[in-house]
């Protein structure tokens, strides 16, 4: 039987197809804008201008991108082992506990560079902890990880409401949030990075955790393609039978990968808590865990794809705010639609345009081969 999804050249597989899927997602989003009675081209202009028009805007865009790199990596790591972690949202939420504890403990007595490493460890620890249970349940009890992680998102939400309204809230305060951190709990901005390019960061909370995110992306690449453990998890992701044959423990990989995934999700909490709000608030994750699914799908689970995909979503978030300002009919919920459409077209419908593209490429290749068969590099 001929393969319905015939092999495409790398540039088409990793460049053209995601691009087409993305364009279609945006076209459909444009339809929604039309339905609302606004001009989609205007919206696009405001979005791009709002995301990149000024140094400050770029700062915001990259601030959001930082968050999405973490959650995108979280989802992608699990994908490579054949696991679908929908729980990044909850893991990031719980990861906040680690950040908050480190800050509340040391912010008044230690500088940020002492608190930050502890907060990293804390966020990764709590995120990993929250992913450990679904991982363990999958590995030892065969509970479907998609369902358990969904359930754990809701449980996380209840846990955090409880903690923020009863435990972590300062005495006498009504708002469900921790106290504001002193200087030790505030991360330095990356204003110098933008000023290299002659831009002014303004009020944008673009901070040092962006560099941590890039480091994490590199670390994930090394982990997946350059370590023994990465080899083992990819083997399991592609072929559980081969993993068993090679003496790779499925349970061990599942649990460790889930914890890694949870740790990456948890580290997302550093960015909003220590980088922007300087306190832990209710619902600070704001769906970033779910954006991670879209980012991982867009980026084909490869760090080199995840970073641009995260920036794209950063653009949507920042530019979306600008659209909302300029076009009151279009609130920031537009981003949620686009996010859903990207997940739909880059994820569930990823193969929709593939047959047409491979036909097109095959035709082009045969016609370009015909006149000059010697020279063609294809």
């Amino acid at each position: 039987m001929s393969n319905p999804y015939a092999k495409l050249p790398g540039w088409a597989e990793y460049g053209l197809i995601p691009l087409i899927n993305l364009i279609v997602a945006f076209l459909v989003a444009g339809l929604v804008v039309l339905l609302v009675g606004e001009n989609p081209l205007n919206a696009a202009y405001h979005m791009i201008n709002g995301a990149f028009g000024r140094g400050e805007y770029i700062g915001f865009t990259l601030y959001y991108a930082t968050t999405f790199i973490f959650t995108g990596l979280s989802v992608a790591v699990a994908f490579h082992a054949g696991l679908f972690n929908i729980g990044s949202e909850g893991q990031a939420y719980i990861g906040g506990i680690g950040v908050a504890l480190a800050c509340l403990w040391l912010d008044r007595i230690a500088p940020w560079y002492v608190v930050f490493p502890l907060a990293i460890l804390g966020s990764a620890f709590f995120g990993a902890l929250w992913a450990f249970l679904p991982g363990w349940l999958q590995a030892r009890r065969g509970s479907h990880i998609v369902i358990t992680t969904i359930m754990f998102n809701f449980i996380a939400s209840s846990v955090m409401i409880y903690l923020l309204t009863r435990v972590l809230k300062p005495m006498g305060s009504m708002a469900p949030q921790t106290r504001t951190f002193a200087e030790g709990g505030q991360l330095p901005k990356l204003d110098w990075l933008l000023s290299i390019f002659g831009m002014n960061i303004g009020t944008a909370p673009f901070n040092i955790s962006f560099l941590l995110a890039l480091l994490a992306a590199f670390g994930v690449w090394v982990l997946i393609w350059r370590t023994r453990f990465g080899y083992e998890m990819r083997t399991m992701g592609h072929s559980p039978g081969a993993a068993r044959y090679a003496g790779i423990s499925e349970a061990r990989i599942t649990i460790i990968v889930m914890m890694l995934s949870g740790a990456l999700a948890g580290m997302m909490a550093l960015n909003p808590i220590m980088g922007e709000q300087f306190r832990m608030q209710l619902d600070f994750v704001q769906g970033a865990g779910f954006v991670g699914i879209a980012v991982a799908l867009m980026g084909r689970s490869h760090p080199a794809g995840i970073i641009p995909a995260a920036i794209l979503f950063g653009m949507l978030y920042q530019g979306g705010a600008e659209i909302a300002f300029e076009m009151p009919a279009i609130s920031r919920d537009m981003i949620v639609i686009i996010q859903g459409l990207v997940i739909l077209f880059a994820g569930a419908l990823e193969n929709m345009f593939r047959p047409a593209i491979s036909r097109l490429l095959a035709r082009r290749r045969s016609s370009s081969l015909a006149p000059q068969p010697q020279n063609s590099g294809a």
Partner: protein, 323 residues
């Protein structure tokens, strides 16, 4: 007598909150037994609630609203069907996508069309469903014990409530006593067997997905036309996921689905009712624990500590004819 009164009130609200759960969980039952996993129940319900609220708000006709809700929900189901049946995409991913698209679109469109902060226009008497009072409901209210049960629980419910409970045996009958049900269950277990028996796997699964759309549509319309008078943004508030949990908790069987939904509905009603009130023996229970309990119970079930939940064998796997 006071305790009894509290109990009656509690049961009354249990039923109110259980109805959308039952309808949505039965919706999930139809697709998942056919081998199409659906975590997009939430989105379909929300989309239906919005469409129902919007159309009823404009026309002030509850029935037109209901129709619109069902249609939108079916349309969303067909998107899920197209992605997971025709395009053989990942069913989880497709469900997640639909949830997001709907969550965003209902707010954007609602705000654009009605400018009431994501609400649809308030509904008049004709625009929403009215409760149905059974004969003598008022007369027997004072009869001890049985009186309140009749007047407050059996009587005074919405037509959709009676329909939801009637759907439980009806779904059972369809699944286990009709040709369609036999084939639907077969395609969720072994689609190749269905295919070689000369039945179209694709069409069968599409029909299951449409059934899911209809029921989700009813669930959504109930939210915006019966339970409240109009649509409020994000009004499903995770009910689709609770329904999914109930479906798993019930091990994909219709009658247990109803009991699981009633249990989860009861926990919800109980949490609201008992907020801040200390319970005997255990003392004060945080409301968050009560709210998380359905999810915790489902996880415990999934862990195999209380029975084993085995999903339909072909669930989540797109059918590829192979030889």
């Amino acid at each position: 007598m006071d305790l009894y009164h509290t109990l009656i009130v509690l049961l009354e609200s249990t039923i109110r909150v259980s109805v959308p759960l039952i309808l949505a969980a039965l919706a999930g039952l139809f697709t998942e037994r056919a081998g199409v996993f659906d975590i997009g129940l939430e989105g379909k319900m929300l989309g239906a609630a919005f469409a129902a609220g919007a159309v009823a708000g404009v026309t002030q006709s509850a029935f037109l609203g209901l129709g619109a809700g069902v249609l939108v929900s079916i349309a969303l189901s067909l998107v899920h069907g197209y992605a997971s049946i025709t395009q053989r995409g990942n069913q989880i991913v497709s469900g997640v996508a639909i949830n997001f698209v709907v969550a965003g679109a209902t707010v954007i469109l609602g705000e654009a069309w009605f400018r009431q902060g994501g609400r649809t226009p308030a509904l008049s008497e004709t625009g929403r469903f009215q409760v149905i009072n059974l004969p003598f409901a008022d007369a027997v209210r004072e009869v001890p014990i049985l009186g309140p049960i009749y007047s407050n629980i059996l009587s005074g419910q919405f037509a959709l409530t009676y329909l939801a409970f009637a759907m439980v045996p009806f779904s059972w009958w369809v699944l286990y006593r009709t040709r369609f049900g036999l084939r639907l269950r077969a395609v969720g277990e072994n689609p190749a067997a269905v295919d070689t028996a000369g039945i179209s796997v694709i069409w069968l699964r599409y029909r299951a997905v449409i059934c899911c759309g209809i029921l989700c549509g009813l669930a959504g319309a109930y939210l915006s036309l019966a339970m409240t008078a109009g649509f409020v943004k994000g009004m499903t508030a995770g009910k689709g996921y609770i329904a999914l949990a109930a479906l798993i908790f019930a091990k994909w069987r219709p009658v247990p689905v109803m009991f699981a939904c009633l249990l989860f509905g009861f926990l919800d009603a109980f949490a609201i009712r008992m907020q801040g009130t200390p319970l005997p023996v255990i003392g004060q229970v945080p409301v968050q624990l009560m709210q998380a309990l359905p999810y915790i119970l489902t996880v415990i079930l999934l862990a195999g500590f209380i029975g084993k939940a085995t999903p339909p064998k072909a669930g989540g796997i797109p059918y590829v004819k192979e030889r």
